[in-house]
Subunit: 200 residues, 2 copies
């Protein structure tokens, strides 16, 4: 016996181990779970995977994932049409929606500038953003990129690119996460929290 499972099981383990965040042990656990799961649950999983590839597309306006283009946010007249929040990925839209603090539109770049991975401004969904900014209703752009090196580089780039257009360009506040401990904050975060202090 080789040090691998018999045919189909090993292929399933290998297929799951390729997915992000699943190691060989986790893949094995999932494979045996599916093996003993009822047929409905397995069919449901398979249909969900095939459906997503068939039905999901990118919104022609904002670049978010959706089943209808324009997406539900872009086509919702109750959303504030004067603000666009620029994010890196579709999942960031969901993170901001969960705050229930923002009611404007979104623009999904599809990544951030990252010279190490050969991603430059030309690889991002920026031309469509500039096109949207021709609309005089737009009063503010919120740059909501990840607070890491790539996000900061993209924020600087977009801020320089957009400021001549005469539209207000803002970015998310940096500071201490709510519920955290001052003692454990890193110097850069604490420095930004000091610099961005406001009246209590």
């Amino acid at each position: 016996m080789a040090l691998a499972y018999d045919g189909a099981i090993q292929r399933l383990i290998d297929a799951f181990a390729k997915l992000p965040g699943i190691g060989p042990k986790g893949a094995q656990r999932i494979a045996f779970y599916l093996l003993s799961a009822n047929d409905d649950e397995v069919r449901n999983l398979v249909e969900a995977i095939t459906d997503v590839k068939e039905k999901v597309r990118f919104c022609d306006v904002c670049g978010n994932v959706c089943e209808t283009s324009p997406c539900p946010v872009c086509s919702d007249p109750r959303r504030d049409q004067s603000m666009i929040c620029v994010v890196e990925e579709p999942k960031d839209v969901m993170s901001i929606e969960r705050t229930r603090e923002y009611h404007g539109l979104y623009h999904v770049l599809g990544g951030a500038i990252n010279p190490m991975a050969n991603v430059g401004p030309a690889d991002l969904n920026i031309p469509k953003l500039l096109e949207r900014l021709q609309n005089p209703d737009i009063k503010e752009i919120i740059l909501a990129l990840d607070p890491n090196i790539e996000g900061e580089a993209t924020t600087s780039y977009l801020s320089r690119l957009l400021s001549p257009l005469g539209i207000k360009v803002t970015r998310l506040a940096s500071g201490l996460p709510v519920g955290s401990d001052l003692e454990y904050a890193d110097e850069i975060t604490l420095g930004r929290a000091l610099a961005g202090r406001r009246e209590a």
Copy 2:
């Protein structure tokens, strides 16, 4: 916009979040990964899942998962036909195979005695084991169950059940894991390591 993704994506996230060891964030990550994965990889995953349900069955002899019954181990004449190693789950067979120390046969119980989960001896693949032991070639049974309460209970039960048959019944050694620190060993493990000491 509701606080969920558009149709198909949310269904995929939900389907993955049901699998063991995958939380909502992990499921979201996998969903977006599959969304941008190439068609071949996705087709491969879907086929692997459907294949496993169609092709995989249990070996009529040892109870391990396999595509052909008897399984490759049971039907391999080069395996030592005088020993049967009793394990809880098919994945335990793989763990023992990886040691390359064992060349006998296996018997998969499909679990361990666990009164809290209503699993008694009658729910385990024990009758088939007794049937196999009618074969006079079998000289030794190795009980290789998990060293936890359920495994210990099953080991005691099987040891009492099998000892009258006049076959040698052994169990895995308990002791300090290789590469561990004596300082951090729990008392029970250290106690067993002492009791099971051997000449250096």
